[in-house]
């Protein structure tokens, strides 16, 4: 596709449930980023991949958050034992290089009830 694709677009999870959010980056893009955007706030960095290597995971808020990109293309962000404070929009972005000007997807809105 022409852009970054994220699925599902919306996810409602019961507190304590595990969720998996998928990101399909633009074909051939080396770099992939995950951000978390709380309501009315700016995006906050979670983690960064260069191909399949996770080079920075300093933004992951707890060990309940885990991200992978095993073949250097599709990435999955997994949240275990979801909590209400995890409710946010999760944005994925990709870039052809390490350059900052990357393209964001439309995000997955996660609501934990």
């Amino acid at each position: 596709g022409a852009g970054v694709s994220q699925s599902p677009r919306y996810k409602v999870a019961k507190r304590g449930q595990d969720v998996a959010l998928r990101c399909d980056p633009i074909s051939g893009h080396v770099s992939l980023f995950w951000y978390q955007q709380a309501l009315g706030q700016g995006p906050e960095f979670l983690t960064y991949f260069q191909n399949e290597a996770q080079l920075d995971k300093s933004g992951l808020p707890s060990d309940r958050f885990f991200a992978e990109r095993p073949e250097g293309s599709v990435s999955t962000l997994k949240i275990q034992r979801t909590q209400q404070e995890d409710s946010a929009v999760y944005l994925c972005a990709s870039s052809p290089t390490r350059w900052y000007g990357y393209t964001f997807g439309s995000g997955t809105r996660l609501t934990v009830v």
Binding site: G42, F45, A93
Partner: protein, 113 residues
Amino acid sequence: QQQVKQSPQSLIVQKGGISIINCAYENTAFDYFPWYQQFPGKGPALLIAIRPDVSEKKEGRFTISFNKSAKQFSLHIMDSQPGDSATYFCAAGGGGSQGNLIFGKGTKLSVKP
């Protein structure tokens, strides 16, 4: 040190007027300053960006002014249009990061016809 402070939180401008949004940063190692535009339900889209070696960059109706000594930068939208109504985020990158950006909290712009 890693914060980017953005103001105002919201802005109402008449059609044809000039919209001005300001940001300030603290980390002098930042070397990339983009502005993103976000519509409801969409991911942020890169609007314009500047490096600290220039004081101004213009692309169409959008201009970034950059003051390195004051550690401030601003977005000017000339001849504002109702279609410009969106949330705008400033961001900063660099300082040894792998490509992740630090975002401001956003400015909700409404352009009245």
